[in-house]
Symmetry: C2
Subunit: 465 residues, 2 copies
């Protein structure tokens, strides 16, 4: 690895010169631009790339990849920079390929419920574009991320319990591969048995197998009726059990989010709500008016049986939006609770039957180690986030937080879960993959080596080769 | 390829001797057994393997793979032999690994809505096992196939429009890889962003990357209410448009199947129904009683607007079962219409907006070439089947049918669709993959070479390397 780094350094200037010839003023080596492109939303000090290229087309990306291949110069794809696991850092240097200028919605096929966008289109931009035709794209990670980045990290969010994650909602991808080939991974048919699933291989590959430049996406009709509300519970356990029962009974809940009492206190202050400071489920149902009413009633009964409630059912759009805005702002709300420290979110996902146990053990662990660690979960999927606070200049604090994260990942894996449900591996979670995947990990390395023998595509992420 | 075949032949006897030592009487070289294992449900004369090993555990499969690796002896995984594209044929010889004895349901996690089965468990066996706990597994290809085989071919069926295909319903897999490693592709969490999606890579790999020995599956609650019925339409076009509108309005239809007039005539005779001999949709809704009633009414209105109807709504379980049994027997029904010829089904899948056009052009093509070619479709997915009849000893008839199949695949691909929605590539559809995938096909070959450098895993299927 050290030798490779040295070799790369020697050809940095040639590579940048050739990239400059392609990108002109859209290639920047200014420090501020480089630093911004290496830093993500986490506590990790990102390593800045040697240069940033603002690409405007798949062809330009292809030219950049060809140049980088020639000089073995790393390529780090960049969407909106909202990564949570160090995906965009450049530990071996290289060029950050910023696709944010590639922000055109290329095609919308209303009858087929699908569309095609350039990788830099963000989820909110797409939904704004789609609004008038009665369609929407449901995947909603916290940030207004780019759809290319969301595909690359296999993102999900609050709607995944009903609509799936990027895994289920990417129809096909256009990508520039490490050898400079442009491929489209599949046609537009809703299903196919025609060969290996390259779409799903690239979804979640975090830029290590190719640069995603266009994304075909499944869309959904905006439901006639959206209803839901908030429901307090006496314990995390009761809230989790209500979730399990809701899903087991086949109630097609669109969102079911757990906020622990710490989160509720924080959002009450931050967003001016007046919720009881107890574990609370935020739920939403999509369907016809009769359907959502029926679902809401069934959920209310389940909640009541488990000691929860009253279920405060909200139908007015503005009230509902206020609640969900508060939910989406939950990270910023808890962040204000510990001024002066860096905040970041980690995530884990377990089979739903183990969720209450995993959350409870995690809370106990935090208490034992004197950590303020509010928890929030996409509980319908068994996925939850812990927000952590750290003073990186305090080695003891740092070690304490790191230890907690390690134990959380190991705990989730031991419960037949995963070290990350939706944030991705990046640099932050590489060390857990051996425990999670065992001998399967070597086949991930095999794929990486076969596709990218020069290791130029976002090297040092997911797997070390 | 010829050299490889010759090399393989030389070591056949050693390989079989070592396999015999492992499998004892469960290794057969009897001609009848071998021939049965090379022949699928198609018109293609299958090539029998050199031997058949009836495996009883993952460990035994591993031993077999290790022996085969040593002698470069091909391995052809075998479930129930219901392949439709020559997946189980042994064009280069080798051993058929029959997993039908591996038929234990290993785990059912009711709270998590998932289970784990050995690869030889069939879909009907699983559903029988699950019935008492109120859960079911929805994927239903025509045959009572093994779940390992269904995963390997990325199978789907009539419920896919609502519940997805094997791609969406396989949670993880245990497989013996070409180098003899046993891997589990993922843990049991409902979602994960922890590395490359090996599960989806093996789903649809048709035994060319490894032998699937265990499958983790998502389950679903048996709905409170199942309702539906049949609805005649004046044309294929009208039926397709009704389907598009149903899906666009977000009506969560569980099944929506088109039978053309030829199919209706055949099922009337075969199953004693009295349906009008016109294009007809078989539909089914799953949900609460109020929900399915509402959905049925909405569908009836849509059908009426498009000139279809009356929608004959059936709620009695026995009437519904009779209809769906007729639907499932449709292949056998049309088969009786042309006695003396071999019948087989081919499939294609297009974006739903192109479905009516694709079906109509296909019907015209059949008429022009004097072919009886009844059509049946999982129209909610844009997927349809054509049943064809051929006298293989008549070169003209054979060429005529082959030409029709080629044009169908090309037509689907030209409409941004796929040469196979659910039957798989096998040997039968390899020649279309270049047109469908272009430069992406080379990355499929790259994966095959990297995973299976000796080309021992079901060689001569999907991609030629």
């Amino acid at each position: 690895m050290a030798q490779q780094a040295a070799r790369i350094r020697n050809s940095v200037s040639q590579a940048i010169a050739e990239l400059s010839a392609v990108f002109g003023e859209r290639l920047s080596t200014a420090e501020a631009v480089r630093v911004q492109h290496g830093d993500d939303l986490t506590w990790n000090p990102g390593v800045a790339p040697d240069a940033v290229a603002f690409a405007e087309s798949t062809d330009e990306v292809q030219k950049a990849v060809s140049i980088c291949g020639k000089y073995r110069f790393p390529i780090i794809p960049f969407g909106t920079g909202t990564s949570l696991e160090g995906h965009i850092s450049a530990p071996l240097g290289g060029v950050s390929i910023d696709v944010s200028h590639m922000n055109r919605v290329l095609e919308v096929h209303q009858e087929d419920l699908d569309c095609r966008v350039e990788a830099g289109v963000t989820r909110k931009q797409l939904n704004q574009y789609l609004h008038d035709c009665g369609l929407f794209f449901p995947i909603d990670p916290g940030a207004d991320a780019s759809l290319g980045g969301m595909a690359a990290t296999r993102a999900s969010g609050t709607n995944a319990v009903r609509y799936g994650t990027m895994r289920e909602n990417v129809l096909n991808l256009t990508a520039v591969m490490p050898n400079g080939e442009i491929i489209q991974t599949a046609k537009r048919a809703k299903k196919s048995s025609a060969g290996y699933d390259l779409t799903r291989l690239l979804v979640g590959s975090e830029g290590t197998l190719g640069v995603i430049t266009e994304v075909g996406l499944r869309l959904h009709g905006i439901p006639d009726s959206i209803a839901g509300g908030v429901c307090p519970f006496p314990s995390v356990d009761a809230a989790c059990n209500a979730t399990i029962l809701t899903i087991q009974l086949g109630i097609p809940v669109a969102r079911i989010e757990l906020l622990d009492s710490e989160h509720i206190k924080a959002v009450n202050t931050y967003s001016g709500l007046e919720l009881s400071p107890v574990p609370t489920l935020f739920v939403e149902f999509h369907g016809t008016e009769a359907g959502t009413r029926e679902q809401s009633e069934m959920f209310g009964e389940i909640a009541g049986e488990l000691g929860g409630g009253p279920f405060d059912w909200v139908t007015k759009t503005e009230d509902r939006n206020r609640l969900w805005q508060a939910r989406h702002d939950a990270f910023w709300a808890v962040k204000t609770m510990v001024p002066g420290k860096q905040a970041f979110a980690t995530d884990a996902c377990v089979p739903i039957s183990r969720l209450a146990e995993c959350v409870t053990e995690t809370q106990r662990d935090a208490a034992e180690h004197n950590l303020y660690a509010p928890i929030l979960g996409h509980v319908g999927d068994g996925n939850f986030h812990v927000v952590l606070f750290c003073d990186r200049d305090d080695p003891e604090d740092y070690a304490n937080v790191c230890g907690f994260c390690d134990r959380l990942a190991s705990r989730a894996i031991a419960m037949d879960g995963t070290c990350t449900g939706e944030h991705g591996v990046g640099q932050g979670k590489m060390k857990f993959l051996d425990a999670e995947h065992g001998p399967a990990l070597e086949f991930m390395r095999t794929i990486k080596r076969a596709f990218d023998p020069q290791n130029i595509m976002n090297p040092g992420k997911i797997v070390q080769v």
